[in-house]
């Protein structure tokens, strides 16, 4: 991982992502994002090592399996094998809305400019774009749409409720 988008800015990223097949050979220090299976297997060893810890999930992961551990992660990454795999969007909402996860939620894998707006509405706040994408050019995608009808992670009240509130900020926006 090198340059990623976080909170709508391009930043240098120092997390190491551990692949599934690496067989658990962990770097001794530094911040590392481990596969869910490894976390499940070696929760205690992982917690005691130096450096921050994150976990990455496939889109079909069941978020309730890590519901008790969420506070221990600085990062949760969801890996999209294809950007058309909609399960990752639901997974993000469940992590945020159902399980109250507050740390960084990162989309990795087949992540493209044109999905950023929806992904961020579903609760992702960091994006490691596919290698051929230009993160600077992708930033404008967050502003593709100013409003959303639905209740989202970004704006938990749906438009129809927000319309009723005399909120000067919304008018200005």
């Amino acid at each position: 991982m090198a340059r990623i988008i976080k909170h709508r800015a391009v930043i240098q990223d120092n997390w190491q992502l551990l692949e599934q097949e690496s067989g658990g050979s962990l770097p001794s220090d530094g911040d590392v994002v481990v596969p869910l299976e490894l976390w499940m297997r070696e929760r205690d060893t992982l917690s005691s090592r130096l450096g921050h810890i994150g976990v990455w999930l496939q889109t079909d992961a069941d978020p309730s399996t890590i519901a008790q551990d969420l506070a221990r992660f600085e990062v949760i990454a969801v890996r999209f094998a294809s950007f058309t795999d909609g399960r990752g969007y639901t997974l993000a909402r469940l992590l945020r809305e159902r399980h109250g996860y507050r740390g960084e939620l990162r989309a990795i894998g087949d992540v493209l400019r044109d999905q950023l707006c929806y992904l961020s509405r579903c609760g992702f706040d960091a994006f490691a774009l596919r290698a051929d994408q230009n993160p600077e050019q992708a930033l404008s995608a967050f502003d593709d749409f100013a409003e959303a009808y639905q209740a989202t992670v970004e704006r938990p009240e749906p438009l129809f409720r927000r319309r009723l509130q005399p909120d000067p900020q919304r008018k200005a926006a």
Partner: protein, 581 residues
Amino acid sequence: MYRYDEIDQRIVDERVSQFRDQTRRHLAGELSEDDFRPLRLQNGLYIQRYAPMLRVAIPYGLVSSAQLRRLAHIARAYDKGYAHFSTRQNVQFNWPRLDEVPEILAELAEVQMHAIQTSGNCIRNTTTDHFAGVARDEIVDSFVWCELIRQWSTLHPEFAYLPRKFKIAVSGSAADRAATWVHDIGLHARRSAEGDGAEQGAGVDGAEQGAVGFRVIVGGGLGRTPIVGHAIREFLPWRHLLTYLEAILRVYNRYGRRDNKYKARIKILVKELTPAVFAHKVEEEWSHLKGGPATLIEEEVRRIEGRFTRPAYARLPPRDAFLEAMLAADKAFANWHRRNVHPHKVPGYAAVTLSLKRTGAAPGDVSAAQMDAIAGLAERYSSGELRVSHEQNLIFADVRASDLHALWREIKPLGLAAPNIGLLTNIIACPGGDFCSLANAKTIPVAEAIQRRFDDLDYLHDIGELDLNISGCMNSCGHHHIGHIGILGVDKQGEEFYQISIGGAQGADASLGKVIGPAFARERVPEVIEKLIEVYLAERESEEERFIDAVRRIGIEPFKDYVYGTNHQTPRRNSRQLAVA
């Protein structure tokens, strides 16, 4: 018509800009075809056999004269001068140029139209009864609920990449004219009866007697695995509509199959889990969403209702002397009136079907000139709006009884007065092999050949109510499974053949047709249809017994025997002489 407010308009405008940029990047080589395809599909753009096809949404089938004129203009300026109304209450252009599509969308946005989610694996246009708002058996005006669903589903960030396409239909009346049993989700408006709340554990959800709610049906569908849906909730109080839909979609999005596109529709998930287990998962999911911020509020329902323009109805006598005189004097008019004019809840008004099924015209096709003419007529006769029916006809919903004769005289020369609504020649057909790259066989010439065979009006009326549907392939866009007679294009060693089924039906007693036997070559189709009709006419107990009723009573065997010649006898003639005999 629903009128956009500023925010509705801005969302559509922003989608145009977004798509313009996506198209630009694609044409500049920055966005590969693979990355672009799902994006363009979400905006109704297919690349098919001869050219792109752009599908424009007509939300719940309601369109204004101004919008229709704009469609006519687009047909002229960007296409070959005509458009095609589909069975999904959409309109399709078959020849636009890719680089011009953003322009077309910008022109549509100016009249509050768009192509958002008209294809792709997302929530599609919600469809409803074409008599919404005027039907005598109405429980609620389904347009209001469809618009609420439209807004909720438009650019829904969580459900843009579902396993497959997803279609919702709403019926607001006692009779189901929206085919709700064969949609991914079907909603039937109901008023709660005593016990509805308690039975469902709805408790304090406002299920007081007489409150509006919905029966929720899931997992119906046509296509290669036709299934009638299952009611997973008999009464859902209206406030919970959106959270409950959200729960269904979420369960589907998480667990629907993504490994095989033929098994990816929600109906397969419901079947594999069983409806009871599926319902349980939905209820579980819903328990977290229920009562949350997406719970509907009365202000919002009223706000949406208030943004619909309504015709100002005059106080008219229930019977119109001029109409009655014309009906008595003019047989052709009376014939048309019998088939194409429908009752209206306001005295002195009627709803009228303009038939797009004139023999020789492809079902659902309209020329730019016709669209302009129809737009003008709608302004003069029906408060400037019309509806597209899923039978691919157009409806003027608010015509004064005293104007019916004048309207009929005007639409006759336009070829829109074929008095065949509900009859055999009111054929529903998908575009088929002439346009669609997925087709096994052509549909339009088959429809035309059948219409020619049955061009005797008296004969047609004698046959009575009959739905005939044709699809060019298993995708079933022509809904052949629910035609009383269904015709399906199949491929037999590279040749176009047609499989025929009977006994399908839409509506409250929906059923799926049964195939009568091996498929036929195209030339033989009209003759086979005629044989089916002969058996029916011979077997029916009375004129009241429709084709579908007869099939249900006697089964498909007698039809099969006669068509395939196991029984060489001409069917016995029943009580009465036939009109053609």
